[in-house]
Symmetry: C2
Subunit: 396 residues, 2 copies
C-alpha cells in the first residue's frame, strides 16, 4: 500500500499534525462534493423520489457491506443507522433474550462509559433481577461464569488502547454459554478484525473515528448468521419490518440484518460516509496495521527518550494495543492544550491521560517526528504551565 | 405573512408541483451553502475542535428551542436527535414508568405503524403483563380507563389527515391518571400546536416533513417541565449524562431536557435543519394554518367537482383535519404514478389512498389549480390505466 497516496486524499489543515483521528477522522477531499450532490442533485431535484432513484433506502445495508469487509463480517450481516449508544442497546437487548434464565451482563471498567450507561438503562427498564457487573479489564477472563447472560466489551480501550483478545474471550464465553457483544469503536479501520473467525455474536461500532465518516456519522451493527433469523429486534422500527411500506399494524421482523434497521436513515451523513468508504475500499488492513504499529513504536520510543516525566499508559506490547498511544501525566490536560496550540492535535481523557491516535492513511513518520519534537519542547520549556492551558473546555 | 416571499426561499424543480412536503419537505435554497460550510469550514478546518468552536455540541438543544416555539413548548424543554421511532421508544419507556402499576398502552389503528411497532418491541422487552391495546381513532375517548398507563397517539393521521383533539384527550387522560405521549410528525410546522396549553406530558416528532430539514433529519422530543427532573431516560446515553466528559462509570441523568439526549448528534443533518429553521423563525403559525385550510378547501372542491369517482378520505371539517387531503380510489396507486409522471407529486398509502400535502410556505393557489386540472385530465382520459403506472416501487 502506498500511504503517501492515501494521505493526499484528505484535507489536512496547513501546519496541523492531527493525532486525533481516533476521535473524529479528518475530511476526505471527495466528501464535500459527494454531500453537495446529495443535497442539491438528489434531495433538491428528486425530492421524495430520492429514496428509490438515488438509492437512499438501500444505503444503510450497502454501506454495511463496505464496513463488513474491514471487520471480517459475512456479506449481508452489517447495517448502519442511529448512534453507537443506540446500537449497543439494540445488540444488548437482543443478546440478553438468548439467555433468558441468566441475570448478569458482564463488562469491564475500561469500557466506554456510554456502553455501561446504556446497559444500566436497559437493566433499569427490564428489572427482573438483572445486574450489570463490571470488573477490571484484566479480570474479565477469570470472571466468566455460567450466571452470565451477556459479555459486553469494547475491544480497544478508549483511554489506553489496551486490546482484549477477542478470539480467546469469545471462545471462553461460548464454552460457558455466554453471548458476546463487541464494541468496535476503536477497532473498525484501526486494525484487522475477524468477527466471523472469532465466532462473535453481536458487534457494533461507529464510523466517525478511524473510518472518517464525519461528525455524527451513523453507527453499525453486526449480527452473526446463526442468530439473525431468530433475533428479536427490541427496537422494532418500521424500516426493520418485513414490508415497511405495507403499513401493517403488527410488526414482522425483516429478513436478515434488515431487521436491525429502525427509522429513517440520515441520508446526508450516509453520503459523507460513502465518500470515505471509497478510500477504505482499497485499504489492506494488514498493511495498515503494520504501519500503525511502526508509527506507534517510533512515537513511544521518541517520547520516552525526550520526556521522561510522561508514563506510558498504553500496553508496551503492540500486539495488545490498538492504534493509539497514551501517556499519563498529572498536568496532562494543560500539556495537551499547549500541544494543540502548536498544531499537534491529540486529546485528553480524565483523569490524567494524553491520547494520540495513529492513523496511517494520513499520518507519516515526518508527522510523528515533529509531534515528538514539539511535545519535548513544551515540556522542556514549561510552556504548558500557563493559565490559558488549564481552563477546561466543555468538550475535551 | 407574505407567502410569495417564502416560496422564493425554496428550490422547487421547474415544472413540478410538490404536494408531498408532508413526506419529505423540499430543499431551502440556503441549505446547500450551510451544509457545505459545516463540511468544509467546520469539519474540514476545525476537526475535533468543531464540537466547541462550531457549537456542534450545543446544537440539539438550540434547535430544540427553535422547534419548541412552533409547538407551544416551554423554552429549554425540547431537544433533537436520533429518529422519530427511537424518540417514540424513549418517550414511551419513560412515560410508562410514571404509572408502574398499570398494564396498558392505549393507541389507535390510525397511528403510524412504526409507533405501534416500537411500543410492541418495548412491551416484548418489559414483559410483566404489559399490553399494547389499539382501538379505532374515533373510539379513543370512550376507551380511556384507569387500567391505562399511557395514551400514545399521533395527533394527525398520516393517511387521512384526521386530527385528534389534543387538549380534550389529554385532559380526559389526566382525569383518569393516564400519561400522554403525542407524536407530532404531521403537526410540527403544519398547524399551531400548544403543548404547554394542552398540558401534554411527552411529545415527539420529525423534522424532515413540514420542517424541511432534509432526508433523515433528526427527530425531536419534548418532556413537560413537571416531569423532566424525575424522568428516567431509559436510553441513557453519555450525552444525556450530567457530565459526559467526566467519563464516570455510573449514569447520572443530566439537567432538564439534556437527559433525553443519547449519542453523538448528526452534525451535518443538524446543519441542514438549522438552515431551514431560519425560515421557520419568521413564520406565524396561525397565518400558515389559515392559508393551509384555504388551499385544502380549494383542492377538495375542485377535485370533487372534476373527479366524482374519488372519495374524500380526509375529514370534511377543516377543524378536524391536518394539512393534507386524501382521496380513496381502488386504482389510486396507478393514478398517483400517472400524476407524478406529469409533475404533480403526491404519494400513495395502502390500501387505496392518494395523499396530497398542503404546505403554504411554497404551495400557492396557482399550484393547487394546476394540480386539480392535471388530475382531472388523467382521470378523464384514462391515462393512468397503463402498465408502467401499476408497477409498485420499493418505496411508495
Amino acid at each position: 500500500m502506498d500511504f503517501a497516496k492515501t494521505k493526499a486524499l484528505f484535507h489536512l489543515p496547513e501546519g496541523m499534525i492531527y493525532l486525533d483521528g481516533n476521535s473524529l477522522g479528518p475530511l476526505p477531499k471527495a466528501t464535500a462534493a459527494r454531500v453537495a450532490k446529495t443535497v442539491t442533485d438528489e434531495w433538491g431535484d428528486m425530492l421524495i423520489a430520492g429514496w428509490n432513484k438515488a438509492g437512499w433506502m438501500a444505503q444503510p445495508t450497502a454501506l454495511g457491506d463496505r464496513i463488513g469487509r474491514l471487520i471480517g463480517a459475512e456479506a449481508g450481516h452489517v447495517t448502519l443507522g442511529d448512534t453507537l449508544s443506540i446500537k449497543v442497546y439494540q445488540a444488548l437487548a437482543s443478546a440478553i433474550e438468548l439467555n433468558p434464565d441468566r441475570k448478569v451482563i458482564l463488562s469491564d471498567t475500561g469500557n466506554f462509559p456510554s456502553d455501561l450507561y446504556m446497559a444500566e438503562g436497559l437493566v433499569g427498564s427490564l428489572g427482573r433481577g438483572l445486574e450489570l457487573r463490571t470488573v477490571a479489564p484484566e479480570d474479565v477472563m477469570a470472571s466468566l461464569s455460567k450466571d452470565i447472560a451477556v459479555l459486553m466489551l469494547t475491544q480497544v480501550d478508549y483511554r489506553t488502547g489496551r486490546m482484549h483478545d477477542m478470539a480467546a474471550l469469545t471462545k471462553a464465553a461460548h464454552d460457558l454459554g455466554i453471548v458476546t457483544v463487541w464494541d468496535l469503536a476503536h477497532s473498525a479501520g484501526a486494525l484487522p478484525v475477524d468477527l466471523s473467525g472469532c465466532n462473535a455474536d453481536f458487534a457494533v461500532g461507529c464510523t466517525y473515528k478511524y473510518l472518517n465518516g464525519g461528525p455524527g456519522a451513523p453507527a453499525f451493527i453486526y449480527v452473526a448468521p446463526r442468530h439473525i433469523s431468530t433475533t428479536r429486534p427490541a427496537l422494532s422500527g418500521w424500516l426493520g419490518h418485513a414490508a415497511p411500506f405495507a403499513f401493517d399494524l403488527d410488526y414482522r421482523a425483516g429478513t436478515g440484518i434488515e431487521r436491525m434497521r429502525v427509522g429513517t436513515p440520515p441520508v446526508l451523513q450516509m453520503a459523507a460516509l460513502d465518500a470515505s468508504m471509497d478510500i477504505w475500499a482499497d485499504v489492506d488492513m494488514h498493511a495498515l496495521r503494520e504501519r500503525s504499529i511502526a508509527l506507534s513504536e517510533i512515537f513511544i520510543a521518541g517520547v520516552e527518550a525526550a520526556c521522561p516525566d510522561l508514563r506510558l499508559a498504553s500496553p508496551r506490547d503492540p500486539n495488545t494495543r490498538g492504534s493509539q498511544v497514551s501517556f499519563h501525566h498529572p498536568d496532562g490536560y494543560a500539556m495537551m492544550q499547549a500541544l494543540i496550540a502548536q498544531g499537534v492535535i491529540g486529546d485528553f481523557r480524565a483523569p490524567d491521560i494524553m491520547r494520540f491516535g495513529f492513523t496511517p492513511l494520513f499520518i507519516d513518520e515526518g508527522d510523528v517526528g515533529h509531534a515528538i519534537d514539539i511535545l519535548a519542547a513544551i515540556i522542556r520549556d514549561g510552556t504548558w504551565d500557563q493559565p490559558q492551558f488549564k481552563q477546561r473546555a466543555a468538550v475535551t
